[in-house]
Assembly symmetry: D2
Homo-oligomer: 364 residues x 4
């Protein structure tokens, strides 16, 4: 596999570069009979778009999706759904510097090492622009999981630099709370400070990292496979496939390194009304045991690095390995986190949709 | 896919339960002409075995591997290599409690939720016993990568509870340093304290978590695919597929949440003698950019929870969801980390072997 | 997998219906550095198009391909190549009969049985229109295999009804000979009779079957995998995945049922200049032994049924299983064979491109 | 994929050579709760074994299967089922001639061209011995499909050389009729002549080809995927993956080349009691339309070449491409067809089990 396909039964294949004609996604395996139109894709694509606020880059991407197949009379037919999102701004520009010099922290050098050439316009395939295709596919998964099973997936920023949000119950946060501020942090006090910090960082011609939390509610017990395709493993892969993710943790995460077994284990208790009628008192495991969902909310957290594109001159090398200096042009997010949220939600949704179908096949 | 196959071209399929006849692995896609015998598998299997020291469980597992195919006249033939590792101790025992009650922190409940039944003997397929198959496959990958490319993969414990090791240059640590103490921590002073802590925890009938670092040296630039199958993503999945892993981070990891772009980026510099002749001054990225290897050591770190099997009576529920109390019998590791090291090395090796072959196909 | 992806390393995913907005194909895994533009796709798409002669349906399909990604500065970049071929004629029509009645010999009933609904416009996804996507992908494979290895793939009609062509050496036939007549039969005398037969069949408001031969020259020895993914098996699947194919045979094909071992085996002889320098005196095996290519031309043959769309009233059932009568409207090919040739070539090319890359990975 | 895995959800991976320690198969994805023991595998393995009659080779293969995993308390658990079938006769012999010379009609040359080396003992991985693993897996699929859905799969020889059997209704043939004679031909008169012909051929130190028909009854409408993974395509691949198969046809097969659309199409009619209540008057299509099952019996036919192993001296080349003469030793089937029947049944069963699970996932 050449790496642009994700999933086994809810199977997503993407193509597209930052400054080519457009990005395409084919979703193969979506069940038939789901009501679907372009309108279902637009909200998540809008959330992913740059230029939504003063703390994200004001680049213009129109992101109007066109469904090319797999939908008939307003419903999915069970055949592959192709979605095209054209790139707006394909004018020929002067990319001179990026063409021959390697930007530090970017994939310019590694793409050349891999392929011997690269589409250097705006990062080409390594640009976060490719996540439009993922977000479009994720919106289909969201509708499927929401309508059929009442599953909800929500992301939220919980750290920017040294600022931490106070989110007592991530599973209870609403989309409205997340979207109430440009940082996408449901703690309004923290959000305000984070917004100010991001503005300060931008003024300093710098960028800053952070972390986001993702929560999936309504996932029934039993999803995920015992060994390699644990739900945790597929979610971990999904998160690490996103640009700039340097760490992923589930439930208590890295804090388990300090924990004792007597304190860490979630106690199993009767949960009348659930099927099966079993729950846990706490959710330190993050909703999975042995990599299989246990019916509790799935909770994970991602660390996202500061964007490497900062408007400063920096030393680097050119294609021949000679020392040089590069200046990054263009406008870039000083903090990736707000726009990371819908991208990460999309990947969680794709993993869940896939395991939904996989579990449907277990008993035959 | 039902979840017991891993990899695209270096393709590993496992089967086996804790207390069934044995564990089997089929490695399909190993290049022909590699010198190989059972003797190559034994060292890693020995490292994985319980009962090697006073701080791991004294359970007896013999772990003698038998190569059933794919090797002829002492060399691999290019056809699938099957390895069988029989389980030693299959006596019929009284598993009464585990049969009907769910152990907290274990996959008993989730297996039942998934399959409607489970092999409850010693955890069945959810037991860490299944990692023997991974370790055997990893030993084949180790030989391939070592002989052909000089790649080395080494794991080491760097945290147990609140004790942190001081490992200034993980890429310079040797196998001998790791194996010099039962904790598998290359910092001797820390190792001694960790060993004492683990003994104390055992006396308290408790268990404790920790973290391990993995380093791969000699990986050339260019491995990994641009979007979903980033090397980072496949490594992340590999780690999260191992039992008890709750967090994974690459390079600076979660510390990037605090970082500025101006400080985080590794500066590209000439590296005469390398192919291509480019390196970085620092390795905060952990050896990958855009998910593709950049020729620097690949560095990652995993958080491992304290084992849930502690010899204390604990409240839980039975299969019918009724409250009950369960006592864990048998002998279990008070700290999983020492034995986690060879398991994690195996998974890193499998990912690298797969991307080695994938990269070989890129240009056709 | 939901069935719209083909290949392991040269990986093709298609989407699209007969009367939706368009057909899309994503080719993932094409090596970088291949000169490519839309102009390379047009010849094969033109050959596939209806309305090229008096013996194919005069339906209008414009089939102008647009490359959306994966090509930069006139060359492939190694990232996925997406191609969009819009459908021209999407006017809303009266599909009343097809909507509620099942056409005999078509997939109307089986799509409903599978999905519970279907896009009934012109056959939807079961229409041969979907093969435009395959032909576009095949044209990319053709360029890759031709430029890198000198491999050529050519199809030809060798039977229509009871008329058989005389093709003494299929491996020596040229594209010009095939394209010299509308039947795509390189035996001019037979072609003339076949053309007349097809015209007669059309006048009789009927359709007729036939057979085509495919030849691949220049394939080196060693392609194909030993057991399930034999080159023969993947070619067989490829052919049977095309509409209307009811039989596939390699080399001597069904004639082997009559053969003796003493007479059937091709004798191995020295072949100086080849690498390795070994050939066979005859090619009864069709270019493969044990499912792996032996350096001789790969020769196969497909039986194609008469199209089920004939302009006659016929008894059938409706969606409720009640008896009714259906009349097929629209204009359809009275013989599928001439247009089958480029579709079948495309599938052979896709299989070969995939095994080219797979073989490149064997030694690592 | 390295070619030893088959299927998407009912996923079979095999390993093993003719004269190595044994053959192994891992079946991943078999639903839990199926009653299963070694006794279920033995009948099909016995049918595949050589030495069952005077017209098959008297080689001794014991073929006692051992289930190593995935079965607990007499039932499948949903985890992978590994089966080991040890090879009996592994004495070191003199394989001198085969080691350095290429047998005509065998894969000796192509394996060397592919891998640069081969296990030459008895054909190694290219020996039909590897089909024991397939037959064991097929027996599991047989039990699953039989118990859950009442599906039956039966093969029968219908041609040996110029002798054709008269089988008016292949769907009505019973296992008893097939097993009533050593040829596995349900037409007793033809069987007798075929047996005599095979004996004559053996006396002439020669071998002979033939054909077998396979029938699957009870397959519901709706299995198979629209484009590449048509049920017909996967069955075609399955058959061509078996040794010696040179042709495959469904329903009317190659006869469709002569057919008219008016005569070929099966007429759809009400079929009260079926779900959905629709059938066809005839079954020229062989049980599929658009590659998706239509509820009628699935009927296919395979042409099998005469074995290339005949006890005659024949000209060939050695590894260096120099002319030489080779003598085939050992005892070989003068006609592969009788033993082909259980192998082909196994492959049909594996395809059906896979599409059973795939269809279970379609609606989620």
């Amino acid at each position: 596999m050449a790496g642009s396909t994700f999933g086994t039964l809810f199977r997503v294949t993407t193509a597209g570069e930052s400054h080519g004609p457009g990005n395409v996604v084919i979703v193969d395996g979506c069940p038939p009979g789901l009501e679907l139109s372009e309108a279902d894709l637009i909200p998540d694509l809008q959330r992913r778009k740059p230029g939504q606020s003063r703390i994200t880059t004001p680049r213009k991407e129109d992101d109007a999706p066109e469904i090319l197949s797999g939908v008939f009379e307003g419903h999915t037919t069970g055949t592959p759904i192709a979605v095209l999102i054209r790139n707006q701004d394909q004018r020929s520009r002067d990319y001179g510097d990026i063409k021959d010099k390697y930007r530090p922290g970017h994939a310019d050098f590694t793409f050349d090492a891999k392929f011997g050439r690269r589409d250097y316009r705006g990062g080409g395939r390594s640009s976060a622009r490719e996540t439009t295709a993922r977000v479009a596919a994720g919106a289909i998964a969201r509708k499927l999981l929401g309508q059929r099973l009442g599953i909800g997936v929500l992301g939220m920023v919980d750290q920017v630099g040294d600022l931490h949000a106070d989110i007592p119950d991530p599973g209870a946060v609403t989309l409205e709370q997340v979207e109430a501020n440009p940082v996408r942090c449901p703690d309004p006090a923290a959000a305000e400070k984070m917004e100010q910090l991001i503005k300060d960082v931008r003024k300093q011609q710098d960028s800053i990292g952070g972390a986001a939390r993702l929560v999936a509610t309504g996932v029934p017990a039993g999803w995920g496979e015992p060994v390699f395709d644990k739900l945790r493993a597929d979610l971990g892969k999904a998160m690490f496939s996103l640009p700039a993710v340097m760490g992923v943790e589930f439930g208590e995460g890295f804090a388990v390194a300090h924990a004792r077994g007597s304190g860490h284990c979630d106690t199993l208790v009767p949960a009348p009304g659930k099927a099966p009628p079993i729950g846990t008192t706490t959710n330190r495991a993050g909703g999975m045991l042995g990599g299989i969902s246990n019916g509790m909310p799935i909770v994970l957290r991602c660390a996202v690095k500061p964007t490497s594109s900062i408007p400063q001159d920096r030393p680097t090398v050119d294609r021949d390995g000679k020392e040089t200096v590069i200046a990054t042009r263009g406008r870039h997010d000083p903090c990736l986190l707000p726009r990371f949220v819908p991208m990460a939600e999309a990947m969680v949704l794709l993993v869940l949709a896939d395991h939904f179908l996989r579990q449907a096949a277990v008993q035959g």
